[in-house]
Symmetry: C2
Subunit: 528 residues, 2 copies
């Protein structure tokens, strides 16, 4: 497999689905839940893709409402040997959205399978179907008056299960290392139904409260996977704390990045910071601070170091800015905020902005975007003002939480963005865990300009290859370079991929579940 650049646009539509297959699908899920027209399919494709390209065109979109219907769809797919591609809400823009890797796949959308099946107040967890959005789960918690919070990502319209299965990010303490998801129900390729962990015990009392079972642990095998379709999942929730303090920490100069990373790591390892902070550079911060956007628009084209510094200084957001928070008893929160301020003061000229101390009394006053996400209040604030015809694509390597290593990767990606695309480097350390961070670097492109689209994807693929040479790998790849990203994980003559392929062939012999997802292809499609 060669590592290719993005080719020219493929304008050919997916072949039409055999009417007999459409009939069977309608029998399975109902006439109102199968869509095959180009218009209907286009309604449910990735908006962050060149509009003329149909490389990832589906042949139908099917909306099951029950696990039984999903099982039936899978049986049909096996019969007719047409692959299915699953998405929950399909909001993973920048990664391919709901589009299938293989043209002509039948899309299974879970948008109509969206029940919150349980909220367990005592044991602090929820059980959801894949169509449940963060917004829905939050509403269900609030409607039930539960003393619980859910760890949410930046945008509330995505699916809890979908985000989890993409290894997506959330920002409250349970977001660290994806601790929230626990206990799954999975439709297998033969249409049978599996329950993981303690759920394999009939009438299990402990399905969603214990992360293992007896024998090998399967839940994580269904992450970024095409080995089964998750139709139900437990998700741990957090008791509402006595106090919550959202903070914004500035890094005035780019040269202070290393120092900021090292301080953050120590605060995490010492248990002072327990959530999932994010640290973004000036341009990315425009989504939080509209005043930056105004300043940026005053300049033409790419901004120079001096111009960036001027924006950072005049708006006060800094060259990097960290969103973080503390949760807990009031006395503990106050102590930890003081510790953060003290540690951060070592960064010359830096600032720690306190966005208030929230308790049950003033919880309703939470309004700013920086406050809402870490309070578990899902929202769509980041979408505001985003032009329709601008997509984005990113490369997101996992980097140890060490200043020098983060700097090494930032320098590499910055060079490629500036030299090959001629744009400013846009980056966020979007998941700061205790020992690692995911450095999300982004490139915007025009979805109506073929050249702009191709340049962006070529540059990102170049980033994938160059970072791998230094030992840094992607945490999650866009459809268009899943193969290239997976290709880098080649230790032992691709021992990892061969092992997963053997599992794939054993549990999905016809290769009908999401072929090609994250570089895993069924036997018939492999030609290495």
């Amino acid at each position: 497999m060669s590592l290719v650049s993005r080719g020219p646009a493929d304008r050919a539509e997916a072949p039409e689905l055999d009417p007999a297959v459409v009939r069977r699908l309608r029998d399975a899920v109902g006439d109102d839940a199968v869509f095959t027209s180009r218009e209907d399919r286009d309604d449910y494709r990735d908006p962050y893709w060149y509009v003329e390209d149909r490389s990832y065109d589906s042949s139908a979109v099917v909306y099951p409402t029950s696990t039984e219907q999903v099982q039936e769809i899978v049986r049909i797919a096996n019969d007719v040997r047409i692959p299915v591609w699953t998405s929950s809400q399909g909001r993973n823009y920048g990664y391919g959205g709901p589009s299938p890797r293989v043209k002509g796949s039948i899309l299974i959308s879970f948008r109509r399978m969206n029940r919150v099946l349980e909220i367990n107040e005592k044991l602090a967890y929820a059980v959801v179907e894949p169509g449940v959005r963060w917004l829905d789960l939050y509403d269900a918690i609030e409607a039930g008056g539960h003393d619980l919070m859910v760890s949410v990502p930046d945008l509330g319209w995505g699916s809890v299960i979908g985000n989890t299965l993409d290894s997506g990010v959330t920002y409250l303490p349970l977001g660290m290392d994806y601790q929230a998801p626990t206990g799954m129900e999975v439709v297998l390729a033969d249409g049978s139904l599996l329950r993981t962990g303690m759920g394999a015990l009939p009438n299990s009392q402990s399905w969603h409260v214990y992360k293992r079972g007896l024998g090998p642990v399967l839940d994580p095998l269904f992450v970024q996977s095409n080995l089964g379709i998750v139709t139900r999942m437990g998700y741990w929730l957090m008791r509402k704390p006595e106090a919550y303090a959202p903070l914004y920490l500035t890094v005035p100069k780019d040269s202070q990045l290393e120092q900021a990373i090292d301080i953050t790591r120590e605060l995490r390892l010492q248990g002072v910071i327990r959530g999932v902070p994010v640290m973004q550079n000036t341009i990315t911060l425009a989504s939080h601070f509209p005043e930056i956007l105004g300043k940026m628009r005053a300049h033409e084209g790419t901004l120079s170091e001096e111009q960036l510094q001027e924006i950072a200084d005049s708006t006060g957001v800094g060259r990097w800015g960290q969103r973080t928070a503390v949760w807990g008893d009031r006395a503990v929160v106050e102590h930890h905020v003081a510790r953060i301020k003290e540690a951060w003061s070592a960064i010359e000229g830096s600032r720690v902005d306190e966005y208030g101390l929230y308790t049950k009394e003033n919880w309703g006053d939470i309004h700013h975007f920086l406050e809402k996400v870490q309070a578990g209040i899902p929202n769509l604030d980041m979408l505001e003002g985003r032009p329709d015809d601008i997509g984005h694509i990113g490369f997101s390597p996992v980097v140890p939480l060490e200043g020098t290593k983060v700097r090494e990767v930032v320098n590499l990606l910055k060079r490629i963005a500036e030299d090959e695309v001629g744009v400013n480097f846009v980056a966020g350390l979007c998941t700061i865990s205790e020992r690692s961070t995911v450095l999300v670097s982004g490139l915007n492109f025009s979805t109506v300009d073929e050249e702009s689209w191709r340049t962006a994807f070529d540059a990102v693929k170049h980033m994938v290859r160059e970072a791998a040479k230094l030992g840094y790998g992607e945490y999650r790849a866009h459809l268009d370079f899943m193969d290239e990203a997976a290709e880098q994980y080649s230790f032992g003559d691709h021992a990892y991929r061969r092992f997963v392929e053997r599992i794939k062939d054993a549990v999905d012999p016809n290769g009908i579940l999401s072929p090609g997802r994250h570089g895993i292809w069924p036997q018939a499609s492999r030609n290495r």
Copy 2:
């Protein structure tokens, strides 16, 4: 498969290994690393088993010192179709120790493959080989002067990797839900070498700092598993806190168990307790408080409720006692200790014993067993005074952390212990996580008395079946009833087991890796 009681003792030795196979093994690992005599094999069998029974007899014990040697042993096993059974230190007494499930298996012992490969001070993790014991890792950390602590179990002689791969317990905050293990190297059944997660990227910088990779996550698949042999693993460590406060919490009356559980759960969910507390009943507490043992010996046979209450009252340990601790900045520790005391005071007549507040200044004063484990200081204190010919066996279901559910299971197991075996119920809630606990119930038996041994195993198997009827399953089973325990996980006509069996057949077609481990058998051995 029928659920059978323990049969009469099987006194037949394993068939002798073909000398040609012995020769090949010696060529692979050296003459001094292959043992076949009965005496040598018996030196390395489970001491908690009836001495006359050879159901789990091995044909050889092999001590590799490198990954390459392990690969070569696996290749030989494939050639000659003799299964291997892996153990690290083989200290999992009560679960079968190093003994193989299939008589005549070749034992691979990792006792000589015991290097601490790395201690990363900045990122707070270690990388170890499977023979590394808690004692060894602790020594390496101390010898290097690192500002780090390791989450340890009650006994320090076991293997870090061995304990992890059995889903074993450790007690510091990283022990919660097994958060410490991260990134593995695995010898596969065909002798090839796999690296999980970010380790699949050659020269990966992030192998041991990030819990996932690109594509399906494999690490947990090697827990309680026979799909590969883990020869190297990352293990997260904790920064030494400013302060550490070990505590002992009493529950004076058995009827207060539910209340104690519910209070503990709220303290956990509120983030006040962050480690892994243990709550034991009076008899089990004898291993911590020798004065109990003296009182017990003053009585003949089984103790009545009144006698138990008298011991609990006169020694002051209570009917249940919880070992817990708080770690963090001094101000936070003091606040959280006060919170625990306040919450616990709701239990009538209860007490919170503070075992001192330790900081860097007085760390050397930590001496009591209750203090050492939660300070990450491995020891063998619990072994003291244990008679040689007494073994123990337990049933350990996972129970949601709710008073009423814990009570339901305690009552069931107590009834079986008292009515069927005629002994006092011995129990510890040995892993109190945020939402679940593992209730370890134990039965002692004489390893030189066939009747005593058989009665104990029959009773435990009965516990397995009866608890399953209520929806509670075993977290880890002894060799002798792995099949019975796995049999309970039957949802979807055993969808879980069939799925794992399909993986097993695909990645180990000759079925040579630890056949039967936790109920997973290769194709040739299945006759359901």
